[in-house]
Amino acid sequence: MLVELDVFSGRANPRWRLDADQEQRVRALQRELPEREDPAAEPPGLGYRGFRYTLDGVPWRAWNGTVAGRGRGLDDPGRTVERLLIELVPPEYADLRERIAWELDRGS
């Protein structure tokens, strides 16, 4: 599964592949999330806009405690999907891991 950290404007966003086990961890987390009643908010233009990935044919965005895709929204108040994907950031983007973790902790 290809994951994109949607964070840059000028530079290309980091992208990397998850292996089957990692993909299954994301899928299992998502299965536990309840449906939202309200539509998911849109991220800002500049700065951290979440993680984008396609899982089982559906494009998803995990951002700000919501996992949204194709008209569906899942509540993730603990930001478990985002935190897992930060954990799975490959070493070449390790400098970004700390920054995004900071963004999550401050609530963006």
Partner: protein, 156 residues
Amino acid sequence: MRDERCENCEYEVSQFNPDFWNVPAVRPHNNCYNYARNWRTDTFAQPGRAHGAQTSTMGCGPVTAAAMADGLMHRCDCLPVEEWPRRLMALVVDPGWDYHWYRHQRGGFWGHKPGPTAARNTDNSNAVITDPETCARGGYTDFCGYFYAGRSVVIN
């Protein structure tokens, strides 16, 4: 239009036309530099890359130098009418991480396209951008300056 900040300099402002940029065939492949230069390359254009002068240092100085290798000129270094259409662009930097560009549009506001997202004329507070120096820019805290881009500017 006459540049109010510069004696005798003129540039052209274009109609805000986000629909051109926001279709699936264009939006993911063109970034803020494409939008501000008003040139679709489908390569996620990088300052200086077309001229072997790309930088990986995300600061005002290096990104400015890279863009000027593409042919951009500092504001008030007037472009001749032969460079029509001449655009006014603004550069900001998220120090150490990234850069971002805006383009002056007809109607007195500024347009931009944050990375692979949609082109728009609003800032991070959802306000129409009338001044790129003071608009809400998130971590893009360093305002680097204004530039003209004439027709001879090549980006990739």
